[in-house]
Chain length 161, copies 6
Amino acid sequence: NSLSHLDADGQAQMVDVSAKAVTARQAIAIGKVRMSRETLNTIAAGNAPKGDVLGTARLAGIMAAKQTAHLIPLCHPLPLTKVKVVITLDEDLPGYQIRAEVKTTAETGVEMEALTAVSIAALTLYDMAKALEKSIQIEQIYLVSKTGGKSGDYQADTDAS
Amino acid sequence: NSLSHLDADGQAQMVDVSAKAVTARQAIAIGKVRMSRETLNTIAAGNAPKGDVLGTARLAGIMAAKQTAHLIPLCHPLPLTKVKVVITLDEDLPGYQIRAEVKTTAETGVEMEALTAVSIAALTLYDMAKALEKSIQIEQIYLVSKTGGKSGDYQADTDAS
Amino acid sequence: NSLSHLDADGQAQMVDVSAKAVTARQAIAIGKVRMSRETLNTIAAGNAPKGDVLGTARLAGIMAAKQTAHLIPLCHPLPLTKVKVVITLDEDLPGYQIRAEVKTTAETGVEMEALTAVSIAALTLYDMAKALEKSIQIEQIYLVSKTGGKSGDYQADTDAS
Amino acid sequence: NSLSHLDADGQAQMVDVSAKAVTARQAIAIGKVRMSRETLNTIAAGNAPKGDVLGTARLAGIMAAKQTAHLIPLCHPLPLTKVKVVITLDEDLPGYQIRAEVKTTAETGVEMEALTAVSIAALTLYDMAKALEKSIQIEQIYLVSKTGGKSGDYQADTDAS
Amino acid sequence: NSLSHLDADGQAQMVDVSAKAVTARQAIAIGKVRMSRETLNTIAAGNAPKGDVLGTARLAGIMAAKQTAHLIPLCHPLPLTKVKVVITLDEDLPGYQIRAEVKTTAETGVEMEALTAVSIAALTLYDMAKALEKSIQIEQIYLVSKTGGKSGDYQADTDAS
Amino acid sequence: NSLSHLDADGQAQMVDVSAKAVTARQAIAIGKVRMSRETLNTIAAGNAPKGDVLGTARLAGIMAAKQTAHLIPLCHPLPLTKVKVVITLDEDLPGYQIRAEVKTTAETGVEMEALTAVSIAALTLYDMAKALEKSIQIEQIYLVSKTGGKSGDYQADTDAS
């Protein structure tokens, strides 16, 4: 029930994981980007010929996953073995849903890498559409699941979204 | 009504801002991190002696603002003249609200820098509390206001949050 | 007739440009990626639905332009105002031609940014096709033109390619 | 005969290498920088007392190899165990030949790291000599050999250069 | 008795560690930041409510340890498993003493990571106090101990400080 | 008499410099690397043919100056117009003295850039010689002078070293 990143003196430190086993680990995160229906239609149309709007956001997410340890101060640098970002049009939102899956074989997990990929992909979508609509909102970024490691697997409740 | 980052062939490019005037610009963004009341209480207690939980998230947000052009593929590198990140406990959420303000004097604005600061600060809060609760959720990241530049000022509707 | 980056003692240094005028500058560079016709056909077909092969290389070039000062040791950090990368299929090569245009308003030029964008876009094309053919070759990267600055404009001879 | 970085939907992704064996891997790449004989003579003379022209290009190549996963969007971050860059004067070119050798022990190879080291070393040579001659050309960057990994060893045909 | 980073031709290279055993390694480094008693008192008072002065320097040190391979040209990129930075008020100096401990499981050691963490934490302290006193001095940064690896353990003489 | 990086709530923030005048600024810093006479002799001999020991440290310092805003959390990103690092053999130390000079035209100064260049150059010297002697010590890093900006010029007392 304590904050793992604080040492006995209450100071933030990178946790010692040197004694943990190197195991296969995976994490999946999702998030949403909500916009007006008009903006969504413009992106969907603009993306059509080359796929460059969603493709740019997807690549930004993949590259950001590799920068996680330089962005989140107490994250351990990890040798990622897979990063996959999928962006799906959601007519009901309206907007896009972003899903990132990350894998490693290491002493600690890749939850932050998956969440970072989703966040930066969402920000990139915002960037590409902000001339159309400044009120676009990034929503409900959370961890869907993680596997591997001593703390066991985790699966979000389906109603979390 | 078009996507400014796509050229005539539908290809994503960094927009040419060389002919735009260099003016003072400011952007403010906010976001929320929702968690269980128990997690919030633990963070609030753990943060008390040294302030290291919120202080770490705040610094991560400030440093991320400076990395924006390396994270968001089509953003222009800008000489930031101010970055301020404030994290406020929100008993009703329950959780924390994060607010970032960024300034520059340049040809284009700092909306993405403010949004990136909020996002990375939120992810850092998640990182520091994830051993307590994996269902923490990042919510409602959006632009509050921007000033400066030809496109004029922007102020979000208050009910957007 | 001397090497501008070496000081009087023959030591490499970042040149002092503080006394130079801040002016609008532009540079254009190109390069080629030569491959077998079979590889070219596979990329052209694979790229068709989403444009992700050329789109990925294009984005990598744009993002690399922004990293130039961190890659080329004696380059000055510059506020880029435009980066455009265009990749064109060249049936005769066979392969792709890459062209990058970069702009800034600064004390020194952006030749290295344009050349870096071309080089990293070329390497990314190699990366995406290397499972098909390892003998892909990057060829004839050079400066096409530069404008702005005291040293005057430059235009490559057309037979340089 | 397919593009390994595109998933079933034609979208670019970082390939999942988590099931591949961790083995010793090596890659060697070369490239050329062609310039006028006069420029070559000036560099050779300028480099003489301290070696700073070639030394700077060599270091830039070594450091760039370590940045490969941040430059090439779909490359995996790898723990490099050796990077060696050698730059040789080539009177016949005239110019310089650059050769990079990279090693790792990992799930995937270091071809891109070797090619990136060559490319950035070549660009750095260009940067240091561009005040003398803007028509310097980077030529024939290609993979010489790779060893290790399931796909087997590769050796370029000698006439590729 | 030779310089390990120079090859047979006297050229700086990243040493080949591919044949070395992967073992647990640790390094500890310290350094001092000397200032006037008045400055020390102001920092101690200013740091009191939130701990942000020392907390900022501590985080900067931790994050810098993760950047070591990008800062020190011939360092190998290593998967750090622990980084801890402790900053202690030293009334006698007067000033602060900074101590960093770094761990990895790798082919080579983390001395440079520990020394880099100390150095950047010290620079950050300087940055935060330089408006008060520009004559603050960073002193006596050295390696306290290292363990692991074929070359054996090392322990600094106590009078080195 | 207050800490400029702490806001009214005692929280560390990047200072707002948007209202400050853009002026020419320069900063000079120095530092020392003390080693045994035997180590010094080996470096001096090893450095002779190619200059790669001191050349590597010099370049590391120049490149680090450009990374200052990414290393020191509250530093503003600045467009550096000059970085010069000079390393001088000091028989009396024994060891090397490192001097860095940095210039910009901006709203704030480059003291941290000069100090960072010295620190990373010193660490690089340590890295290249640590196989010879682990007790090498980095000493007396301080600001020699700064010019430009509203706060006026600064010149260190000569006995500070």
